[in-house]
Symmetry: C2
Subunit: 201 residues, 2 copies
Amino acid sequence: MFITCLDLEGVLAPEIWIEFAAARNLPELNITTRDEPDYDKLMKFRLDVLKKNNLGLKEIQETIAEMDLLPGAKDFLDELRSFTQVIIISDTFTQFANPLMDKLAWPTIMCNELIVGPDGIITGYRMRIHDSKVSTVKALQAMGYDTIAAGDSYNDVGMIKESKGGFLFRSTEGIKKENPDIPAIETYDELLAGIKSIMNE
Amino acid sequence: MFITCLDLEGVLAPEIWIEFAAARNLPELNITTRDEPDYDKLMKFRLDVLKKNNLGLKEIQETIAEMDLLPGAKDFLDELRSFTQVIIISDTFTQFANPLMDKLAWPTIMCNELIVGPDGIITGYRMRIHDSKVSTVKALQAMGYDTIAAGDSYNDVGMIKESKGGFLFRSTEGIKKENPDIPAIETYDELLAGIKSIMNE
């Protein structure tokens, strides 16, 4: 039995922090996991920028509420969910993800949680589990599933390699070059066909 | 972080085999896990009855396509999914569940799989994992989740006891008496309130 594990940002939705950086004209928030591999360091820097600018959860959620999904993402996910189980595995936070999940018709998402003060300022965050993408895929396998995974970023490579099959979706040239053994694709049609092909092997 | 694990039949939808027994006037298919605790024995008996009556997957799916969800089930699940992650854990089969998942707007379901011959006759079945409800709840906990569980039947008691909190939903007097430590409730409003209360503890 199969379950497909999808990254969120870059696969179904734009990068939340990048959109927020543009909406608030805060170019220092343009750095992502692609630039700073130490997630804890990156998050502390981001929360510091927010605090200095007196911006809280409410302001980020306003940006997310106005964000569109990537074109075709909803139709792709609807089609995928009709023939296999799907879980979105993301390093984002439930409080950011919820407005996007609403737009995607509430697929299951496994991510992390922000700690928010009574004044709406984000004071910290709670990571669900260490090395969450690989750990989650391994737990799904312990449930009796074969996993199939897709994502665009460095932190997706582990869950893809751990799975029966997987894809780099609209990834960078650097990541593709470093992982020539992972099929790199650009469209939802290719992704649907690729997932079906692994399921029918 | 919380994830709610729901039984399907008896909680969101009627018992599939009971509905099929009525639709095809086959009273011998009225026995369920409530009467026969040995699931393997029960399934072999059911498949035997189907074969003798020349009934296959197509005929059961026709019944399921005409089945209604339990009244209020869709609204309940929509509301639940808006504030917590939800997974349906069921001993049914993907081929039975799919038409019901369509009516429920495609929540994630973890169940089992039928083996179907080219003539549409069900020749066997593949259980995803041993003791699937408890095993699945434990794997979700290994992912970093606190689980909350609800179900109506003997095979739900284990996952409820294994969880941070849980409920017997519209269960039998016998099961309720044998499990006085598990809150027994009858309505979706009580279930929503109960889940919220555990999350806010």
